[in-house]
């Protein structure tokens, strides 16, 4: 198998994206689930935007944002000495944006379904807000976290348009599985395209099965 680099890079990208989104998405989802701020619907809409936008549109604007002519691009260039466009770091930022709703939505649902009355009860037992989050909210939203992470990971593995726009096709840096498949098909190398495509199908299926099985098991336990 000649595309082992693409597979490894894809897993690295999806893993990094999932981890960083977990850090960014958890407080955002908590805020979305509980804030009464009037601007909340606007933030909700922005969070959900990647669901409905063509990846090429996001890719296009990110490309402009990453160019050394923009403020962010310039800042990144002075800090790191390289450009964000056509780099692994750029891909991570793009993937985080693109997969944001897949992390945030399940977490918002999980947080919103936890009764505020349980938090009150924990407070009367002497639990501080951080203690409540760690020992009540986290275990009660375990399923939400699992769904969010699996969906984010799988969605990042499957992205194509945005990677093509922002990352291009640099082996070991931005050439992920979906790009590799595209190129193999273009060069009529169907055997290699089959291996990668079937692999992706299997991976997605297993990931989604894991999510739905865990949901089912918890539902059964509650009954």
């Amino acid at each position: 198998m000649t595309e082992i680099n693409a597979v490894w890079l894809t897993l690295q990208l999806a893993g990094t994206t999932t981890l960083l989104l977990l850090l960014v998405g958890t407080p955002l989802a908590w805020w979305l689930a509980h804030s009464t701020n009037p601007i909340r619907p606007v933030i909700e809409a922005i969070t959900a935007m990647p669901l409905v936008m063509p990846p090429t549109v996001i890719g296009f604007y990110l490309l402009l944002l990453f160019s050394p002519n923009s403020a962010l691009g310039e800042f990144w260039f002075t800090v790191s000495g390289s450009t964000l466009a056509f780099s692994f770091s750029g891909l991570v930022i793009a993937s985080m944006l693109y997969s944001l709703p897949f992390m945030v939505q399940p977490l918002v649902n999980a947080f919103a379904s936890i009764d505020v009355r349980l938090r009150e009860a924990a407070a009367t037992l002497g639990a501080t807000p951080t203690d409540i989050f760690r020992n009540l909210i986290l275990p009660l939203s375990k399923r939400g976290f699992l769904s969010a992470c699996v969906l984010t990971f799988a969605h990042t593995v499957g992205e194509f348009g945005i990677v093509l726009m922002v990352g291009g096709n640099i082996p070991g840096e931005t050439r992920v599985i979906s790009i590799a498949i595209y190129e193999q098909v273009e060069t009529l190398n169907y055997a290699e395209a089959h291996i990668l495509s079937a692999g992706l199908i299997a991976l997605s299926f297993i990931a989604l099965c894991a999510v739905y099985l865990s949901n089912r098991r918890s539902a059964l336990r509650l009954n």
Binding site: R117, E120, A122, A123, T124, L125, T128
Partner: protein, 352 residues
Amino acid sequence: MLTATLNHSISDFSLEVDICLESSGVCAIFGPSGCGKTTLLKALAGLLPTQGQIHFNGQCWQDQNTHLPACQRAAGFVFQDNRLFPHLNVAGNLHFARQRAAQGSIDYQDVIDTLGVQPLLSRTITGLSGGEAKRVAIARALISQPQLLLMDEPLNGLDQSSKREILGYLRRLNRHFSLPTLYVSHDIEEVARLCDHMLVMNAGRVIDQGRTAPIIEKLNQNSDQAVSPVGSVIHAKVSGHLTDYSLTELDLAGHKLFAPIQSELSIGQNMQLFLPARDVALATQNPQGLSIRNNLPGIIDSLHAEANDRVRVAIKVADQMLFAQITRQASEALALHRGLPVFALIKSVALD
């Protein structure tokens, strides 16, 4: 000692209370639904932002500059809906409280034994019956070592037999841990059986407060009130336990009373009883050959006509007041009047 001056309004409801409570015994917060009892309890616990001041045993919980969060107030809360954590089993719920408990004199194993929770420890929360869940919730609150216990209608939503069971546990609890307790209820019989003091609330205000017996006597006098109990609180001394018969013998000013056994009370201790007026019958002569074991001689103090041709008779026995509800027909047939000596007959089971 708990003092609180609170002001809170939401849309068309306002809570305005100014209370001062001794830090011992059980005090009822009594009143009809929607009068602000639960709101007051949540404000005291720090679960509801309110205007005003709360001081407990010399510690400021709340004033203009302070608002101690719920987790820093030494108040245990037993919620009406229990609020046990569904991801933990019974032992896990108790452990949650134990891990965060302050220093205190309440012994973990003692709580578990007193509330009979030991056989439930490995059970899941969803598998508990209403009464079992309530016992676990009470145990969890106690294990957190509170200096003040807040209970929000703990008997609400339970069936009759669980109610009686939990009431028994609550009495045992009060006698055993003697923790100052605020007990919200809209059921006068519960209050009369359990509480030494009471606050009567109506429409967000405290309209009366004091010892339970005289307040209930007062509430009996004006029967047109929304909160109208029909019965009386009496106090009697334990003079012995007839374990063979599952009865406890009580002494009320030289007269014997038999109540279902209260084994945790020792001889010489005082017991507070509630006598529902409907369970008291009257006789003008000392009757013989009755299954009714309790017969108290007294003098009629007053007669009140009630709805449906009923008459409420107040009878003075020693220095305590009893109420009997009888039909107008019976009252006329016996020619009852003020000052007439009568015998009040009470079934032992009514004294539970």
